[in-house]
Amino acid sequence: MTVEWRRRHVLGLADFRVEEMEFVIDTARSMEEVLTRDIKKVPALRGKTAVNLFFEPSTRTRTSFEIAGKRLSADVVNFSSATSSVTKGETLLDTAKNIEAMKPNILIIRHPASGAPHFLSRFVSCSIINAGDGANEHPSQGLLDLYTIIKAKGKISGLKIAIVGDILHSRVVRSDLHSLGRMGASLWLCGPPTLAPREMERTGAKVTYDIREAVRNADVVIMLRIQLERQKTAYFPSLREYSRKFGLNRDVFSLAKDDAVIMHPGPINRGIELSDDLADCAQSRILNQVESGVAVRMALLYLLAGGHDAAH
């Protein structure tokens, strides 16, 4: 496959061509081989520095990027900040410029404000990977979901994929709409009306408030974490009500295809969006997602900083 990779940043999948997404997956495949060796390290990013600039708490994504960088022999540095807004102290721009003065090659940014990485990309000269901005996108998650499904099902086109949960606030959904929806899968988005905006149908996905309709004959069911820390005003009456009508249990899951798989970006609220037994069942690909995640993130780091100045 000949794809000319000219990207300086990975801010979102919205402007990725299908060929580019396939190219990243292909690169991830090669990276995954490195992860099967005894010595899980290659010198490709030796001497390069990646900084995890996380303004939102996250252990798994940050660790995933850290491991990915280290496997490529990069130096990975973690910077966490609880503050995000201008009024609370140092502005986002000042923080980023300070870090940039230490000459990292890549900034990996997670921030609660949609558009924060896009904003920074106008002011810093190193590469930026968006590790999640507000409700906008989480491109590496979108790609690892794609990779996981391709590995589980052998293809993506023609599959019915149900995504259930807080669609309104989910950056994972928005990235998946690009990585899965534009690759030929049929997407069904499900949640209570307060959390599942009909506008999403403009992307070609279907929106339903009935989980049984979403899961029926599905090949893949992706459950989203109900974000308790984000709801400031009630979008549904109680967690009990939510898990009864929108949680995935054996009964609902039996409507899916026999070989359907379950995915979840994590962390799981066991017993709320996903029942305990399903989280660990044979059809769960949740841990595969984590595995695929490291390979995909290695691919992104490599493509952005793999020794060449060509993209700048």
Partner: protein
């Protein structure tokens, strides 16, 4: 660079003879095929190592394990590459510990590819020794690397290229020497 002339310096039959001779040399020097493993360097070395594997089978009746290595992640010249180096695959589905690894490549030039391949192999295990067989040695070494088995020595100037065409069927295999106008500046 404008290609001025292409010369066939080895045709399919010629390649067959050279590869046969190389296989005999390998077997002679190692006193047989015991503990030998073949590792072809992606991409040009892979069809050649397959050929050698078949030849060993024909001569000794033994199936030598063969794998291939992609050295892209070990290159030292990525900063100078003006393009995005595409990753290929590495597959060495056997242990190389205590084995005699026969590294197979099509053209030996600066030696940097071989250095990268050795780095990759060391990450896979601890071979007894590593021997290098190349079809063409075109000179201009930049590192102290030498091949143990050489098909043809082809002295070249820096702005010529040697292309080993081993895609497609064996009847179409050939080695081309491309003369070109001098490159502008240093490469």
């Amino acid at each position: 660079m404008k290609k001025v002339g292409k010369k066939v310096i080895l045709d399919a039959k010629g390649m067959e003879r050279v590869l046969s001779r190389l296989t005999h040399e390998i077997l002679e020097k190692n006193k047989g095929a015991e503990d030998l493993v073949l590792v072809g360097i992606m991409s040009g070395g892979v069809p050649l190592s397959k050929f050698i594997k078949e030849k060993v089978r024909a001569i000794e009746g033994v199936d030598v394990p063969a794998g291939y290595v992609d050295i892209t992640l070990y290159r030292d010249d990525l900063s100078r590459a003006g393009y995005q180096p595409r990753l290929k695959r590495t597959e060495i589905p056997f242990s190389i510990d205590e084995k005699k690894v026969i590294l197979v490549d099509d053209v030996l030039f600066t030696g940097r590819t071989i250095r990268a391949a050795m780095d990759a192999l060391i990450d896979f295990g601890r071979p007894k020794n590593i021997q290098l067989v190349v079809l063409i040695d075109r000179g201009h070494r930049e590192l102290p690397i030498r091949a143990d088995y050489v098909g043809r020595n082809v002295p070249t100037s820096r702005n010529e290229t040697v292309d080993v065409m081993v895609q497609g069927s064996r009847e179409e295999w050939k080695v081309l020497l491309n003369e070109s106008t001098p490159a502008r500046g240093n490469q």
